[in-house]
C-alpha cells in the first residue's frame, strides 16, 4: 500500500480522536500526536486499536513506544503490511 493511501485511511481515524479545540485541518504527517495534536494517552490507544482493525495488523508494545508522529504511524503500518505480504 502506498504512503498516500495509508495516510488517507489513517487521517479520519486520527481526526476522530482529536480534542474539540484542535481543528481536523491541523493534522499533517509531521505532527506529534500527543504533543501537537493533543491526543491523550488513552485516546492514543484507541487510535491504535482502530488502526489495527482498519489495516488488519497488530501493534506490539515496541511499536507503541516508537509512535510519536503521524509519520511514525504510517511507517509502522507500512512495516506491518510488508511483513504480512
Amino acid at each position: 500500500m502506498t504512503t498516500e493511501r495509508i495516510y488517507a485511511k489513517l487521517l479520519p481515524i486520527i481526526q476522530n480522536y482529536l480534542p474539540e479545540d484542535v481543528s481536523p485541518d491541523e493534522v499533517d504527517p509531521d505532527k506529534d500526536l500527543t504533543r501537537e495534536l493533543n491526543i491523550n494517552s488513552a485516546h492514543l490507544v484507541d487510535v491504535v486499536l482502530d488502526v489495527e482493525d482498519a489495516f488488519d495488523i497488530e501493534f506490539a508494545n515496541d511499536d507503541m513506544e516508537s509512535l510519536r508522529t503521524v509519520n511514525d504511524a504510517i511507517k509502522i503500518i507500512q512495516k506491518k503490511l510488508n511483513q504480512d505480504a
Binding site: N40, S41, A42, V45, L49
Partner: protein
C-alpha cells in the same frame, strides 16, 4: 473469598472519606465485583442537597471506577507481573443514571472488561441497589500508571 483479594484492597490509594469500596467479592481476568454502603454520616450529604440528601452522581461514578476499574486494573497488573506500585488514572467515563441512592443504601458494582491494551483498561460497569434495580451503568476507562518504570 474476600481475603483472597485483600492484596488488591491493600494496594488501593484511597482512604475515607474518598474510599468507596467495602468488599471486593470477585475479581478475575474479565471483571471485578464489590459492594459499598453509603454511610449516612458522609459529609457531602449536608450539601447535596440541602434538606434532601442524595448521593451525587460523580460519587456513584467514583464508586464504580474504584471497584470496577481500579481493582480490576490492579489485579491485571499483578497477574501480568507489571508492577506492585501500579495505580490507575481515570481517562474517560460515559454513565447513564437510572435511580437515586439515598444515605445508608448499599450498592453492588460489577464490571466487565472490554479490553486491556497498552495500559488502557476499558470496562462496562453497572451498579445495582439491594432491590436488584440498576442504579447506573456505562463505560469507564483508565490508564495504568507505573511510577517505578
Amino acid at each position: 473469598m474476600t481475603k483472597k483479594f485483600q492484596y488488591i484492597l491493600d494496594q488501593l490509594p484511597y482512604k475515607a472519606p474518598f474510599r468507596f469500596i467495602d468488599h471486593l467479592t470477585h475479581v478475575d481476568e474479565e471483571g471485578a465485583s464489590g459492594t459499598f454502603t453509603f454511610s449516612e454520616t458522609l459529609d457531602f450529604y449536608q450539601g447535596h442537597f440541602v434538606n434532601h440528601p442524595v448521593t451525587p452522581g460523580v460519587i456513584l461514578t467514583e464508586c464504580m471506577a474504584q471497584i470496577g476499574v481500579v481493582c480490576l486494573g490492579l489485579f491485571l497488573a499483578a497477574s501480568e507481573k507489571l508492577s506492585d506500585t501500579a495505580t490507575v488514572a481515570l481517562s474517560e467515563t460515559n454513565i447513564v443514571f437510572h435511580k437515586a441512592v439515598f444515605p445508608g443504601e448499599k450498592v453492588f458494582v460489577a464490571s466487565e472488561k472490554v479490553y486491556f491494551r497498552f495500559g488502557k483498561l476499558k470496562c462496562k460497569v453497572r451498579m445495582k441497589n439491594t432491590k436488584e434495580e440498576v442504579v447506573c451503568q456505562g463505560t469507564i476507562s483508565g490508564m495504568l500508571i507505573q511510577p517505578d518504570l
